[in-house]
């Protein structure tokens, strides 16, 4: 069996993400957690799921190296394949990784305009036309973050991107939250997101809570999935 197995049995199915990047509309998602709790692991699982479904994913890593970002994908795919039987794993790896490109930026050199310029360039050269965008390390504490997000959303609509997922760091000592329960620093821009997930460690396990879920989402806000603390893979319900 090939990659179909990985798609069908992906615990992310519980969130109905395959509906989110259907042609019906563009969606914006957010994964929040305190530092070091595994936001990148979740983003990569969302990206991987999209890649396995033949979408082209551009992973933008801000403040992180290329090698480290790339190894997240290798590790996650290896772990996923240990849970599902795959006949020719290497072939699947080769095929799936064709659907991914990584761009890394220094914190101070990232801007939506630069990203747009690069993406248009890649599409024009026929190198890579992204269907989905994953932005890891975006600075939501920046005062201009709202306009930058709107800029990216505009770019998304103009270029027909199916989805954008962001990650954001929440802080234990900052108790500001939005009406929907979205913690700071994203509490003031929560209307820009269709889906918001929060990684939350309980005493015994790590949970992936759904704080906000758009109509296409199959779980109600407040429901949660469980993460394997050793691998950070989302566990099957």
């Amino acid at each position: 069996m090939g990659k179909e197995n990985l798609v069908a049995n992906n615990p992310l199915r519980a969130l109905g993400l395959e509906k989110e990047n259907s042609d019906s509309g563009q969606r914006v998602g957010l994964v929040m957690a305190r530092a070091g709790l595994g936001k990148t692991a979740i983003l990569v699982q969302i990206a991987m799921d999209s890649m396995l479904r033949d979408n082209k994913v551009l992973h933008v890593a801000i403040g992180e190296g290329l090698e480290k970002t790339s190894s997240w994908y290798t590790d996650i795919l290896n772990l996923m394949s240990q849970e599902q039987k795959i006949d020719d794993f290497q072939e699947v790896v080769n095929e799936v990784m064709q659907n991914r490109m990584i761009m890394t930026f220094k914190e101070n050199s990232f801007s939506p305009a630069t990203l747009e310029e690069r993406m248009v360039d890649l599409a024009e050269q026929g190198v890579f036309k992204a269907d989905c965008l994953v932005v890891d390390g975006f600075d939501f504490t920046d005062t201009d973050s709202s306009s930058a997000l709107n800029e990216l959303k505009g770019f998304m609509e103009k270029n027909g991107l199916k989805m954008i997922w962001f990650s954001a760091v929440s802080h234990r000592d900052d108790d500001r939250v939005s009406e929907n329960g979205i913690p700071a620093p994203c509490h003031e821009v929560d209307d820009l997101f269709d889906t918001v997930l929060l990684i939350s460690p309980d005493e015994e396990e790590i949970r992936l809570k759904t704080l906000k879920c758009s109509s296409a989402c199959t779980v109600d806000a407040g429901k949660s999935l469980t993460l394997d603390p050793a691998t950070m893979l989302i566990k099957k319900a």
Binding site: G65, T69, N94, M101, M103, F105, K106, D121, Q125, V127
Partner: protein, 693 residues
């Protein structure tokens, strides 16, 4: 004989091409009184730098072979290996690192951490080599040592901190501020040999205080004494800081960064002080040997000159006076006239001449102790061999040698060239384990293979220059491989019993893909279906079949052959009959086992101005490359991709024209991967046509 090993440093100098490491070595030799004049790498005086002893190296301005030299700085004996910067010569770097205790990583203050620095750093990690960094060329326009230190942290993951601050930069580089002693150092005299120590210039005082604080914070975790002194706000002596830096460096948890300009003779002496202070002596690092009497169990060498001898030959060179073998003594004392035993061959050899190397020159010595690096004359061995005095049966851990990925045919122009070429190839294959040669029996061509175009180009040049062997060279060919994707059965009978002495043999079994390794043979015959004496014939037949696959004539790898049945004839069965039966069986099984052609994939890294990023990526895309990603930093972008080697020929020209010569690329072997169907069909067609001719 007992030598105080705390006074010995075995260090390597590694870096990206053109970071100026040979220039730096030249200055080191000058300041340590080993040479009495400084010559530039591409100097107008026509002498060339001391360490670039090969004519070709001087012409191209890069180091191809590493040379060993020795110097003494403030009472410490320093053995230096100057290692090549080009990735095609990686084996030289790896060999050097295997025998060294510490290293100096040279970086260009403008170029910063470049692709080859990353490769070299990875190699240093592999061999746990403590390292210090030297940011060279601070006199160049655009020099920014602070940015480079940041790259050492971000790109190489080193806990790197500046130990000095520059006094002026670019054309205004005057000297450095030592953050340990908090003194300003200026380098004067014709060759910077006079060091003037002054107070820190007033305009740099605040910055120096701030940087020193950062440095102390970073190294305090390696010394309780320093941490206490900081907490109690008592005097922090330079010795206390040095101890902490040394402890962090040896534990590979801290990497001190020094700055200067070797070309302008600025701040090379403080780097030598740092080698003495922060890099390990032989007893600071643990080297492991394998006990051949005890299932290759690892044991640490003692570093004691009075213990039984263990010596590793890490480099061979054909010098003016015969074969020169570079060795490192790990324990015991090696004396002129001693008989030593090669652990691999069991052969006893006599140590005729023992010399300490200084690039092309040498000093005769009578003995050398543990931790020393010297050279022997007239000892026949291969690179990587271990020698003992017979009291121990051991070998030093094996070295990582990559497989060759490119080959080309060489044709001598006449008989004299043929003889000379044979001599040269014999020598080169002994010197360099990544350089291989064989004769293609079908075309009678001599094929040489290696790690890249430049690698082979250099050997062809050396054949011409050193051995006077004029050769015609074919187009470079990619070293494809064939393998199988699934298990398949075979049952083949070789029968030729029509007149004269007959031939008969039947071989049955199966073949399957082998995860690791090239070939495995298993005999599962029961009841004597194939007599014992013919089992090895079957093995030989399979091995012969592996030499040339049927798809494109490349070597077959990753196959496990199992025989479980067969038949023989009392009179007509023979060694040859069973070999031929195995060849037939292999062919039968192979075609059913989904054979595929694999091609070498190179990890390519292109570095250049961001404005050319799109064109660079487009060019990689056109070459069947898979772009992993990009790293954008300031106006520069690094594009990393996996690209088939077959598509990389002539890429330097393409890149030059695409980027107005502003981008550069490096590549190294990554893995073998199956070729796409269209390429596979083309290769098969081409091979069939060649066979017909």
């Amino acid at each position: 004989m007992s030598v105080d090993l705390s006074n010995v440093r075995n260090i390597g100098i590694s870096a990206h091409i053109d970071s100026g490491k040979t220039t730096l070595t030249e200055r080191i030799l000058f300041y340590t009184d080993r040479i009495h004049a400084i010559h530039d790498v591409r100097g107008k005086d026509g002498v060339g730098a001391k360490m670039d002893s090969m004519e070709l190296e001087r012409e191209r301005g890069i180091t191809i072979q590493s040379a060993a030299t020795y110097c003494n700085w403030k009472g410490k004996d320093i053995n230096i290996i100057d290692t090549p910067g080009h990735v095609d010569f990686t084996v030289e770097v790896e060999r050097a690192l295997r025998v060294l205790d510490g290293a100096v990583l040279i970086l260009c203050s403008v170029g910063g951490v470049q692709s080859q620095s990353i490769t070299v750093n990875r190699q240093m990690d592999r061999y746990n080599v403590p390292r210090i960094s030297f940011i060279n060329k601070c006199d160049r326009t655009g020099a920014n040592p602070e940015r480079v230190t940041g790259q050492l942290q971000d790109k190489l993951g080193l806990n790197a901190h500046m130990m000095q601050l520059p006094i002026g930069l670019e054309n205004d580089l005057e000297g450095v501020v030592d953050l340990v002693t908090m003194k300003a150092l200026y380098f004067e005299g014709d060759n910077g040999e006079i060091i003037r120590e002054e107070d820190i210039p007033a305009d740099l005082q605040d910055q120096a205080d701030e940087k020193r604080e950062e440095l102390l914070d970073a190294v305090s975790m390696f010394s309780e004494e320093l941490m206490e002194a900081m907490l109690e706000e008592t005097e922090i002596t330079p010795e206390l800081v040095k101890e902490a830096v040394r402890a962090g460096t040896l534990a590979l948890e801290f990497s001190p960064v020094f700055i200067g300009s070797a070309y302008k003779n600025k701040a090379v002496q403080p780097l030598l002080d740092a080698v003495n202070s922060y890099l390990p002596c032989p007893t600071d690092v643990e080297n492991l040997a394998l006990d051949l009497d005890n299932e290759e169990e690892e044991f640490p060498v003692s570093n004691d000159s009075d213990d039984p001898l263990i010596v590793l030959a890490f480099k061979l060179e054909d010098g003016r006076y015969g074969q020169l073998t570079y060795v490192r003594t790990y324990q015991g004392t090696l004396k002129k006239g001693d008989s030593i035993i090669n652990s691999r061959t069991g052969k006893k050899v006599k140590v005729g001449r023992l010399v300490r190397m200084h690039s092309d020159d040498m000093e005769e010595i009578d003995s050398c102790g543990a931790g020393d690096i010297v050279a022997l004359f007239g000892v026949d061995c291969a690179s990587g061999d271990t020698f003992t005095d017979g009291k121990l049966t051991c070998s030093m851990s094996s070295m990582h040698i990559p497989d060759p990925v490119i080959s080309l045919a060489v044709l001598p122009v006449d008989n004299k060239a043929q003889v000379n070429m044979s001599k040269a190839l014999n020598r080169f294959t002994k010197e360099d384990p990544t350089f291989k040669t064989f004769v293609d029996h079908e075309t009678s061509e001599t094929i040489i293979s290696g790690m890249g175009e430049l690698h082979l180009e250099v050997y062809i040049e050396r054949m011409k220059r050193e051995y006077n062997a004029e050769v015609e060279v074919g187009a470079p060919q990619v070293a494809y491989r064939e393998t199988i994707a699934q298990r398949a059965e075979f049952d083949y009978t070789h029968k030729k019993q029509t007149g004269g002495s007959g031939q008969f043999g039947r071989v049955a079994g199966y073949m399957e893909p082998l995860e690791e390794g090239e070939y495995e043979f298993e005999d599962k015959i029961v009841g004597g279906a194939i007599p014992r004496e013919f089992i090895s014939s079957c093995d030989k037949g399979f091995k012969k079949s592996m030499e040339k696959g049927v798809l494109c004539g490349s070597a077959v790898t990753g196959v496990r052959c199992v025989i479980n049945d067969g038949a023989f004839h009392a009179v007509d069965s023979s060694d040859v009959a069973f070999q031929l039966a195995a060849i037939g069986a292999f062919k039968e099984g192979y075609l059913k086992a989904k054979p595929t052609i694999m091609e070498p994939i190179m990890k390519v890294s292109v570095e250049g101005p961001s404005e050319f990023q799109g064109s660079v990526m487009g060019s990689i895309n056109q070459r069947r490359g898979m772009i992993i990603g990009t790293t954008e930093e300031g106006n520069y972008t690094v594009v990393e991709a996996d690209v088939p080697l077959s598509e990389m020929f002539g890429y330097s020209t393409t890149l030059r024209s695409l980027t107005q010569g502003k981008a550069e690329f490096t590549m190294e072997f990554s893995s073998f991967k199956p070729v796409p169907k269209s390429v596979s069909e083309e290769l098969i067609k081409k091979y069939q046509e060649e066979k017909k001719q």
